[in-house]
């Protein structure tokens, strides 16, 4: 039997170890591959960055499932007892190991994991509440407009356009922005925001934000900033396709920047942010011909992930023993 800890604490260790390993690999490789990734079509890039942001959590979860799969197969009566073959190291199994061992080491692991989860939930709840308040305020303040319009208008002197809602998405334009833009510029802004709706960008960003907590903080910030930029550029490309004028979209971006700069707001809220340089990159990209997209990366990624999972499943016994050996090193 596993000395010291039960299945739950072992599962936490496997998940934490797996996610740390993946996060460390990505942290080492991202600076080398960033230039290549940033050179991809914005849509492809956004997909890649979402995968990278979620990788530590997803891979660690798959590792956990594969590690437990031999005992699960035995439990379901689909295979033989895998545990008889060893006894020389820690045991991580759904059948022979108790869920809780009641030791101080286990209590420490569960406490740390519990505190981490609480902090994560509190952070997510705070962010969702912040967004929910903004959405409620926008809904309350919207001006009655013709129903066929693809956007709602709110009475505000600040020129802004944004898409809100994780599931039910709505585009909001401030009255100032609408009055300042020409019909073509307005079309570019609305097409950009409609692209956010179609791409489910708010939901993507929420998932990336939530899942990327297992990354090292500097890399997490970099990944989220790059993902944000890729989403914006992807929507710029859609706006350029809709209006048929790439330079017009670039001009609209600069016009909105100028309108914002001229808006009387307190200087203490004009802080530089991680997206401060996005304007330059977005406009620069629109000065060049449209990048060619490809559906191949998604297909390659799906097939690759499937093959990797199949390989892991066929070698689940070896993986199971290897993980048990590693746990043994740590708790013995």
């Amino acid at each position: 039997m596993t000395p010291g800890i039960g299945t739950i604490a072992s599962a936490i260790l496997v998940f934490a170890g797996g996610s740390f390993l993946v996060a460390a690999i990505i942290a080492a490789l991202y600076p080398v591959t960033q230039r290549w990734i940033l050179g991809r079509h914005p849509g492809t890039r956004a997909g890649l960055l979402l995968v990278l942001a979620c990788a530590p959590a997803v891979v660690a979860l798959v590792l956990l499932m594969l590690t437990l799969s031999p005992s699960l197969i035995h439990y379901l009566g689909l295979g033989s007892d895998h545990c008889q073959a060893h006894g020389h190291h820690a045991h991580f199994c759904l059948i022979h190991t108790p869920l809780l061992a009641g030791t101080s080491l286990e209590r420490a692991i569960l406490s740390v994991a519990g505190i981490a989860m609480l902090i994560l939930f509190a952070a997510v709840a705070f962010r969702l509440r912040r967004v929910q308040r903004a959405v409620r305020a926008l809904r309350a303040a919207q001006i009655a407009e013709p129903a066929h319009q693809p956007y709602s208008v709110v009475d505000s002197h600040t020129p802004f356009a944004l898409t809100v809602g994780l599931v039910k998405r709505t585009i909001y334009l401030s009255s100032r922005l609408r009055s300042e833009l020409s019909p073509t510029e307005l079309m570019a802004v609305v097409a950009h925001e409609q692209a956010h709706c179609r791409r489910h960008d708010a939901l993507r960003m929420f998932v990336a934000d939530l899942m990327s907590w297992l990354h090292l903080p500097p890399l997490r910030r970099r990944l989220l900033a790059d993902l944000h930029l890729a989403s914006e550029q992807s929507c710029d490309e859609q706006a350029a396709l809709t209006t048929g004028d790439r330079l017009g979209v670039a001009e609209t971006i600069l016009k909105v920047v100028r309108l914002n700069a001229a808006t009387d707001r307190n200087s203490d809220i004009l802080l530089p942010t991680m997206t401060g340089s996005d304007v330059h990159v977005r406009v620069d990209a629109l000065l060049h011909p449209a990048p060619t997209g490809s559906g191949a990366p998604r297909a390659v990624a799906l097939v690759g992930a499937g093959l990797l999972f199949a390989f892991g499943f066929t070698h689940a016994d070896g993986l199971h023993h290897a993980v048990e050996s590693v746990i043994h090193l740590f708790i013995d």
Binding site: L254, L270, L271, D278, V283, L287
Partner: protein
Amino acid sequence: MSSIARPYLGSLELAVLEELWAKSGLDAKTLHRSIGKRRGISLNTVQSTLERLFRKGFLAREKVSHAFLYTPAVKREELMRQLIGEVVKTLSDGRPEPMLATFVDLAAKVDEDNLVQLERLIAERRAKEEKETS
């Protein structure tokens, strides 16, 4: 209005205020008939919402016979201005909120020289395109 520091309101609170902006001087029972029944909530819930709004400074009240009659203590336009002000503050407080991404980051600072340079590049490209097509 100056007593309202943070104008965060729930959907029921906003519905009550909308009703009172449309028709001032209503008591809890009348409000329950107009919005409470439609929402499937009890008279007690409406009463506690009115009490909360009164304590927050959004409503004024006057006791007539056995019931309080409520009137808005804030103008609709003023409250909406504050609500949107809070949203703009959220969008531009330097803590990017990925779930509320704007067309152009409100907190982004692009210096004048960069803007002029980008505008010049666009103008040059536009002139080049027009020359090619003509």
